[in-house]
Symmetry: C2
Subunit: 681 residues, 2 copies
């Protein structure tokens, strides 16, 4: 027999069920597991539980929905609409009851079981289940017959109205309880934090009456840049995002120089800890200031960072990370109070730091893994985050492996003659005519090509100052595609006869990308630097592929700033990444920051990544006997031993040619060795 009770369908989740007439819509949502926020517990005062009725016939769902099928606004709703304004069509689901079949829309902007993160290429939903929730309760007045304390009666109300069987309370609140309760005339809002897997939830703050604001911070502490999101824990919306340079740069440009600074200076770690915390506090002040959020309403903060950043942020000496066995002081997730780090947030705010995977593969990689989720799917996904080290994760639902490979700073433009950081004036795109060998390029800050009209005018102010990481990849790849560079990375000096761009410098040759002041030249050393960097990266990838026993990958995700700017095609032409359908290669931006955001909005993700990190198979390249061979093979463009059939289908790769005696001694046998196995010499 069909259920004669009205049918209710919730969108966008599509969950549906039959409910007796008169059931509040909020109760129906709860029963179906549709997350609708409510701070006030259905008293019609917080306005968090808004929904809309979709009217019409929904043939697909065999349901006809109408505003006649929901109760007319009752006194609670009318009062709320009068005091706080309720947009036309909006209803409070705690008050509105089911009177017939309904299609209910849970709007994204007020509520929500979903959070939109805008990304370069994708939009994703994050189901919400924050570690902190706000619970409004009306508390019994003191009673001499039942002499429970103020706090104990608050706990009793939280048990009665919100189902909390046991609660711990931050001691700091005890001296304030009496006044809060009386100021609120026996009504309070409690912020309850339930992060720890096995622990009891904690009351971390109390406010008189209704308190309707709870904010969170997700922060990625990069060696170069600290990036931060400010998020409403009630609606799930990101309301401000910002970044600031990591002030530790003044102690050392890259990670190892910062570790060295600590080794040389007794108070080095302390100073860097203070510097990064101060920068984070300023950034918190900035994002809060932008949208007028009180810092005291920040109740939960999530941090990620590489192991050295992680240790310095937590006040741990990173010296051990400077040498084998690269021992982390702590690898598991860290839970603490924001006050213990002197962060600008609520005095009871909690901090969660994602776990580190290994001594070189940090909480940022864990967060990127959480964001991209290789372990959530069947396809074999390669996730690469390139910095001074490349963190490489490879896996699928069955198994995930990870390693770090020492790419060095070449990809970031360091150790490259004309290299510079990605900034206005830096060359980021290059094309070389294979016939004339003449280049054209674009610089950051302008959409124009150098050989087109208006370029000089457009770049007059900032000039053309150097070449950034993505530009280096492109120019070397184009040089390779134009036949200027051999598969072994030698600049072909014989072309100097054909083009004035090829010039001798000592015993090797260079390619002049730009004449004038400054001249920008790609030297043989620059090519070698990129070869070393890309060989390290590719050898790491190959090592993981061997561990997984696969000869190809299905998906490639390029994370981080470098990954966002390089053109996947050129990365593959040079052999930074293995052969793959080009449309399966995606730049995913700050995946670490996205992972931090996910862990902030849903504590289920914390348990998920902790469990994943425990099961990830960690590979230490320094201990792998094959790594050196893979590294040597990977010096070639794209690689000495691997075919690139999918790339070859999309891009015409030059026929390998022998370059004998090209004016230097570096030609290590420019045979067609790509399909032959060779032992390193």
């Amino acid at each position: 027999m069909p259920d004669s009770n009205p049918l209710v369908l919730f969108m966008p989740s599509g969950r549906r069920g039959h409910f007796p007439k008169g059931t509040p819509v909020l109760d129906a949502a709860r029963q179906l597991g549709v997350y609708v926020e409510s701070v006030c517990g259905g008293r019609g005062i917080c306005g968090r539980c808004q929904i809309e009725v979709q009217e019409g016939q929904f043939a697909k769902h065999k349901i006809t929905s109408s505003n006649d099928h929901i109760s007319a606004p009752g006194p609670k709703e009318l009062r709320y609409a009068e005091k706080r304004e309720l947009k036309p069509g909006r209803r409070l689901s705690c008050s509105a009851t089911i009177q017939g079949d309904l299609v209910i829309d849970v709007p994204q902007d007020t509520v929500v079981n979903a959070q939109i993160v805008r990304k370069a290429a994708t939009t994703r939903l994050i189901e919400r289940n924050a570690a902190v929730r706000l619970c409004y309760v009306e508390v019994d007045e003191p009673d001499m017959h039942k002499p429970l304390g103020d706090l104990d009666r608050i706990k009793a109300a939280l048990k009665r109205e919100w189902g909390y069987e046991t609660l711990e309370v931050d001691f700091r609140l005890l001296p304030r309880v009496q006044k809060i309760l009386r100021d609120g005339e026996w009504a309070v809002t409690a912020a309850i934090h339930h992060d720890r897997e096995t622990g009891t939830p904690h009351i971390i703050d109390l406010w008189p009456g209704l308190h309707n604001a709870a904010w969170g911070i997700a922060c990625d502490i990069g060696s170069t840049t600290i990036a931060m999101h400010l998020v409403s824990l009630l609606s799930g919306r990101v309301v401000a995002s910002s970044g600031t340079p990591n002030p530790q740069i003044r102690f050392g440009e890259d990670l190892m120089s910062r570790v060295s600074y600590v080794m040389m200076n007794p108070d080095g770690a302390e100073k860097m800890t203070a510097a990064v915390r101060e920068a984070i506090n300023e950034l918190i002040g900035k994002v809060c200031g932008e949208v007028n959020v009180h810092e005291s309403d920040i109740l939960d903060l999530v941090f990620v960072g590489n192991p050295v950043m992680h240790h310095l942020f937590l006040g741990i000496d990173p010296t051990e990370l400077g040498g084998a066995p690269f021992a982390l002081a702590v690898s598991g997730a860290v839970h603490l109070n924001a006050a213990e780090l002197d962060l600008r947030a609520n005095a009871g705010a909690r901090v969660y730091v994602l776990p580190c995977i290994a001594g070189h593969v940090g909480a940022d990689s864990a967060a990127a893994t959480l964001s991209e989720g290789p372990y959530r799917q069947d396809e074999m996904m390669l996730l690469v985050d390139v910095g001074t080290n490349a963190e490489i994760v490879l896996g699928n639902r069955e198994r995930v492996v990870a390693c770090s490979s020492p790419t060095g700073p070449a990809f970031e433009g360091a150790e490259i003659s004309g290299g510079q950081r990605a900034a206005p004036g830096a060359i980021e795109r290059v094309r070389i005519d294979p016939e004339t060998l003449e280049p054209r390029y674009r610089v950051i800050g302008s959409e124009l090509w150098s050989d087109g009209p208006g370029f000089d005018e457009a770049t007059k102010e900032v000039g053309v100052t150097g070449i950034c990481g993505s530009g280096i990849i492109e120019v070397i790849a184009e040089m390779f595609l134009a036949g200027i560079i051999s598969v072994d990375g030698v600049i072909d000096g014989s072309l100097a006869e054909k083009s004035p761009r090829i010039v001798a410098s000592g015993r090797t040759f260079s390619y002049v990308l730009k004449h004038g002041e400054p001249a920008i030249t790609i030297t043989q050393n620059d090519v070698r630097a990129i070869q070393l960097a890309k060989a390290a990266l590719y050898a790491g990838v190959k090592l993981l592929m061997a561990k997984q026993e696969v000869d190809h990958v299905d998906l490639i995700r390029l994370a981080g700033a470098f990954g966002s700017y390089i053109d996947p095609k050129y990365a593959m032409v040079l052999g930074l990444i293995p052969d793959c359908d080009l449309d399966k290669v995606k730049a995913v931006g700050n995946a670490a920051g996205d992972g931090a955001l996910m862990a902030l909005l849903n504590r289920g993700y914390r348990r998920e990544i902790e469990e994943t990190v425990r099961t990830i198979h960690k590979v230490e390249t320094a201990l792998e006997p094959d790594f050196q061979r893979l590294f040597v093979d990977a010096m070639a463009f794209p690689n000495k031993t691997d075919p690139f059939p999918k790339l070859s289908a999309a891009v015409k790769l030059p026929e390998p040619k022998a370059l004998v005696g090209a004016g230097n001694g570096e030609n290590r046998g420019a045979d067609n060795g790509r399909r032959r196995r060779r032992r390193p010499r």
Copy 2:
């Protein structure tokens, strides 16, 4: 078929069982639930698990025990004996194995599952199960193949060796983990705290290698005196006990004057909080100094106190306790970190404060209830702690009721003409010859009676300066027994003819206890003050008896300083306490301090008293319509409405006589009203 394995009997617990030959004695003890401490986890280095074999035939237990039935000392024991010394006969139970039938003695002094608390009249065993335990572990060295952090490997070792599935870690320790682990050459001792009912155990400190000291503090914060025990959490022994005056006395002698001080002074609560914490810190320094204990080895502290002391200690404004409805800020047990109170203890030490029963019945009463345990037995026990208020608890296994009654300060010697605090020179014992009405007395500091030889010599230095609480009870009771005072409390002026001790003073009469300088005289007002105080106490007792629907009590426990000094017989003669076999009335000293000690040594007692306090029926005398009538009835000696058959059997009570017109207007009908119900006028 009888078990052919050897039989092992553990003393003093008497637990027994059969175990295969070769079983370590420690394992056998564990299996039987006999608590034998071990810090090092059976490595033979901590020496905490010592036992002794009792040799001989134990006919009662049908067992013959011999040192031949235990394994010869192995290398671990020999090494320990060499390095640390092992007393003759002592064995390490982790190393010694069962080879035949054994009677094993678990010595009190090293180990133990028992703690001797010396009390006025009793010795009790406290089974040990402290909230903090020390766990020594050997930790894996860092491994690049399994890149777990230092802390994570410590946790893994604690799981492997001690069975801890989940552990939280105080954040403060993170920056120290690396050095501790390396200083200990990959061995550490962790202090693990497991207090909270539902929470995860916490690592609160770490030491390199073996750390073999863990201390606790049990403290009773009285309005007048702060009393403290220093206890080994490993052996259970109390090694130092001390007390200090509560420095809050300078803000107000009694509780209400301290609350008034807070009401009048904006920083009053803050100053009193600082004062009491400072005094506690000094006391911690004193007890530690006496026995050379490092304050940093204090890992757990338990505090009790009345509601006002409780609030001021925790930094909570006690103003609400100054008037109806006498709302406590918190009534449940409080858990916090010692650092939050700036206490002199380990930086990770935890504090536990027992629950309060009601706005006038505090954590001290809860502790006394825990110590005396009315709820653990079938007999109806009355537990009375007399101070400015009397806290009264009455109950048995079935049900416990409690109230507070406003006795005022008369019992403490205040508001009494010759009254003084209990101190050398104060009269504490009095006898009056019923024929001659001549008194004799003893003073604190001397064993001699005033009419005996050597008294003047013995008291020459301190003199006879006044009369303390117990002396007042005795002198008035003796005056009553001698017929000087009527059942209604009127001093019989007609006796002035018979004895020069009875003198007129205005319209009433007085009794001169001591001539000379200072003269000590018991005035009619003094008798009235004691009558009011005892009537309040007795009315409270009667109210609780009515709640319990009983007409007698089986056991009486007198707690606190006053209870320790008064003679139960005189207390009953005056009707402070109800009729009871005199040998069932016991003074139990600082029962609150004993309860604190129990909660320190066994966290099971914390849960027990929390549960008990939840179920205690709280009676607020101010709300009870019967209280006023009971109070008026209780003004008579011993009481207007109750028979005292057991007391009468032991003490010859005077025949009530009418005292009409005894020179004042206070005679309210000196009939033989003790067996008649009367309504208050």
